[in-house]
């Protein structure tokens, strides 16, 4: 197991729900290579809200089946504090899908994996720290 990995953003989760086969190949390939991926639950909820029930089912199956995927909850006060620290620095109303991805990325010290780095332009402009992104197109 690789001790570090990637945090999936909502652009990735939505496309996985929409059955983007290239993305499914990549994520299952990550899993088979023991690359860890983290899914922040607020980011997941936002992605699911953009999907049909059948598409959500695919996403739920994926999060259930992949061995090296973990869901990151906001279940304890420390997690709520981490999220609040990011949210407070964002343009309001805060983009909670991005906020939770940033909070988890900072906590785990893992980059955010995205299909669209442009989705992050506004977020990065308002946050006082660097958001480390890896765009899937950068992987070749």
């Amino acid at each position: 197991m690789i001790p570090f990995g990637y945090v999936l953003d909502d652009t990735v989760l939505i496309e996985l729900g929409r059955r983007d086969l290239a993305l499914h190949r990549l994520i299952v390939s990550f899993d088979r290579a023991h690359v860890r991926v983290s899914v922040p639950v607020i980011t997941l909820a936002t992605a699911e809200a953009a999907l049909s029930p059948d598409q959500r089912l695919v996403l739920r199956g994926l999060t259930d089946v992949l061995e090296h995927l973990s869901l990151e909850p906001v279940a304890a006060h420390t997690e709520a504090v981490r999220l609040a620290e990011v949210t407070a620095r964002m343009e309001q109303p805060a983009d909670m899908a991005a906020a939770h991805a940033v909070a988890v990325s900072q906590h785990l010290d893992w980059p955010v994996l995205t299909t669209d780095a442009g989705r992050w332009d506004t977020i990065k402009a308002h946050l006082p720290w660097r958001v480390e992104l890896v765009e899937i197109s950068d992987l070749g």
Partner: protein
């Protein structure tokens, strides 16, 4: 048989379902049904994912490309660590 402690609100919701199902429906029966539904939903989700995965894996060239992308993703992670 054993006992479980649940918040009152949960017990009330279970009782409401039992009432809807008619006299003689026990809370154990309600819980068993809910667990069965949960398992069914989980199985449906797994099947939905495996169906997409099977489609994705049909294209072996594309799978090889995904493996190369994964190797690049791993190199990026190692480079980050090495740079600290």
């Amino acid at each position: 048989m054993t006992t479980i402690k649940v918040p009152k609100a949960v017990r009330d919701r279970l009782n409401a379902i039992a009432d809807e199902r008619g006299r003689g429906t026990t809370l154990a029966a309600v819980l068993t049904d809910l667990l069965d539904q949960h398992e069914t939903e989980k199985t449906r989700a797994r099947l939905a994912y495996h169906e997409v995965l099977a489609q994705a894996e049909e294209d072996t060239e594309a799978m090889a490309r995904a493996q190369r992308q994964t190797e690049q993703a791993i190199r990026i992670l190692h480079a980050r660590e090495a740079g600290r």
